[in-house]
Assembly symmetry: C2
Homo-oligomer: 531 residues x 2
Amino acid sequence: MANTWRSIDECKAFAGLKRLAESPFDLTANAALSPERLQNFVCKGVEFDLLYACQRVTPEVLDGLQSLADECMLVDQFKQMREGAVMNRLENYPSEERQVLHTACRDIFSRDPACEAASNQAKTELEKLKVFLHELDQGLVCNASGESFDTLIHIGIGGSDLGPRSIYEALSAYKKKSRGVYFISNVDPDDSAAILERVDLLRTLVLVVSKSGTTLETLSNESMVRTALKEAGLDPARQCLAVTGESSPMDNPDRYLRSFYMYDYIGGRFSSTSMVGAVMLGFALGYDQVLEFLQGASLMDEAAGEKDLRKNLPLLLAMLGVWNHNFLAMDTVAILPYSQGLHRFPAHLQQCDMESNGKSVQRNSRQVQIKSGPIVWGEPGTNGQHAFYQLLHQGTEDVAVEFIGFRQSQRGKDLVIQGSSSQQKLIANLLAQSMALAVGKDDENPNRRFSGNRVNVILMAKRLTPKSMGALLALYEAKIVFQGFCWNVNSFDQEGVQLGKVLAGQILSAMLVKAGGESVAAAFLKAAGIK
Amino acid sequence: MANTWRSIDECKAFAGLKRLAESPFDLTANAALSPERLQNFVCKGVEFDLLYACQRVTPEVLDGLQSLADECMLVDQFKQMREGAVMNRLENYPSEERQVLHTACRDIFSRDPACEAASNQAKTELEKLKVFLHELDQGLVCNASGESFDTLIHIGIGGSDLGPRSIYEALSAYKKKSRGVYFISNVDPDDSAAILERVDLLRTLVLVVSKSGTTLETLSNESMVRTALKEAGLDPARQCLAVTGESSPMDNPDRYLRSFYMYDYIGGRFSSTSMVGAVMLGFALGYDQVLEFLQGASLMDEAAGEKDLRKNLPLLLAMLGVWNHNFLAMDTVAILPYSQGLHRFPAHLQQCDMESNGKSVQRNSRQVQIKSGPIVWGEPGTNGQHAFYQLLHQGTEDVAVEFIGFRQSQRGKDLVIQGSSSQQKLIANLLAQSMALAVGKDDENPNRRFSGNRVNVILMAKRLTPKSMGALLALYEAKIVFQGFCWNVNSFDQEGVQLGKVLAGQILSAMLVKAGGESVAAAFLKAAGIK
């Protein structure tokens, strides 16, 4: 099967794009960024529009990128993935050999889902969640004193943490007034200690998230919290919930009030729409909002099946990224949301993207010959404008920027100051940054010159809601998957984390041995006290 | 004066280092990372040791870097800066023409400070702060009902926000139990709305930080909070504090309970040890802890005056960075603290570094001929290990990593699980990642190969305390300043933020005009509703 897949550098269209990249569209030329260009270089998608006038592309470049997408069969591969093909694999060598079906978690609205078996499993878990949330609301699930739970501690790490955490932050404007969620992820004991100081354990549910049921950080943090519960005279089995694989060591009704399942076809970093994110979101926002969130994601998945690049927002975003990375040699992507709610979303995308596509081996086991995944980073604007934007505008590094903005605020509390509301200022700043980066400015004073041609896109929606958040998440998931296909890497494994784990075990063993000469360089010079 | 300063590429030692960079030290060679190397490539500094065995350097390279440092007169320039030279300037063109004296804020322990006038101003403000904090503790400053204030809202943006915020997070383990601080920075109205929902305004002080007294975001957020105070029947003049320039529009006793001053010789991103950080820290931790923090910084500044690279931690860190960036062509630096307390510190350094050195013009007004400041990003480990570390180990991008670790936790609450404490696991993971990145691993399965030679350093201290935090902050400030000298850029201005401001004003004006045809491309297509 995999034999027919190729990397973009093996495509016919590659050389032509290389030539076009020698003199890319000049955004600083007189009237280059015309009203017509601003209006025409827009892709309308689910919830979001993509404004890409400030990319160094011409219709010819877009045609070339379309050819690449076609030759690499990107949309076809995406369809196969959604239908349950074993995409998480490597030819000729042992690999995970799994399906990739995070999309099935939200493919629950159609009569004809792409992979019925997985969608049915998703529906079963959602039904369990609905019942549980109902029991919670009705007071059927409560503490020993009959009081309701108003706090949830979500314990996970990596994919079981960053996605849910960033989505919770994004949607906390919609949460039930009486409920709050805390997150513990770091094995640093100060992380759990700080949270435990803050919560009322009597009214706290603890959600432990680990697919394998064996993640060391998560189990350590769970133990810290269980110990605190016991010390407070509480029964952990009555307050702990699990999200884990069916029949994992954590799937144990003696230790957990409820278990919700995730399946091996859902990778951690793609798991936010599974129970990994849904249980926490359901607790905080209620079940209906979870469905809204899933629907936004589902609609985006559907829309990603369109073959025409210019009408397929995730595909277009992916291919513009490839153009900037592989043809215009930009090594990093900055994701800059003009929304305080999204302040942790760049960290989630950093994980999702870099863990998926930070690879050097193709699915056919050969070394990649071009660069695979870029470095992803970012912080919210307008804060960033007072910080690292200096380098974006005038530095010697060339960064591809992806802005995210909303025409309305979430909470609707605003004030007119100096003639404009804060929301108007926010949106004006976003649009101004986009233009300033693109067109630049000449000046007699060399220190006030802006070279321009600093490429960016804007993803613009009406408002950050559960539905648009679901769409945004699925948009980036699809972008990352499309790009992985472009580089012909397996975006769904993470062999790169193994060596550190093995060495950590060795150092830890050596640290715990009392006698000297235990090595791994004497337990790395006595755990770096040195000497 | 500036005529004698040069960029590293104008130094005699530059060409020799270029040659050495053609075949840098191979960390993956058999026994390359020997116990001797681990032990010898350590620089002992104030509070911190720098472990740099996992850099691709030899003694010859270090000698070359020493020559660069000498030719560029880095230590001498640093001394001049501390003594009050006008370092914030550009030759031949209008520029800010200011001294650069953030170091004076903490140069308050010596009988012979480098710049007495500035240190005296710092002492005056500290004395004011001491009195204010005393009055607060004694109940002399209190609300209309005679109750004490237990909450502070810190309003600032950029340099008036990220530094203080990251330091507060780092030291919250030491804060007074009864006190808490919130931060508002983003012009996004959801930012202030979310905080205002959480606090009890009756017992809340509001600290507004703006050197000019005219920062639009900060004034907007201040207005939102003042309005909320008034709506709650409270008198803002009784609860608002200012940190601002003397006689700025904000220096007004009719509107603020107290004003603390900062001076034009302190740049925003270098202002954390001025009143910008000290008022908030003093409220949260008490005055004595502020002094501890300043002392850590002061000791580091002193230590940065050492000419021998191998004995000067900030200088060594700076020159290793230059080696990786300008000779080994790494475009980004990842700052990865193994401490949850430091979770926002990379964002502060991202600002401080990129805003300082993301420049293309030398101080002599000529274009830079080599790359200036890199892209700085990062998140805390171990979380990152479950996220983007995949790319660090196996991706096609080469990232220079700076780990930060502590041998002891802050809060001392820990648990032994599977034979080791969380703190032991944390430190073992940090050391393992450092080694794994450096030495790599071969494997028959290409997907399990690790190329190694991925360079990193470890900054290691005993514990994250106010003093070590001060030292860490000053260490990075000095590193950034040294690197700016290497590229001969003015690290203390930020002309790159101006164009966006101007355009934002134009778009905002156009948005507010009712009639059509107002342009800036029709107010960027009606504030990106498009058409």
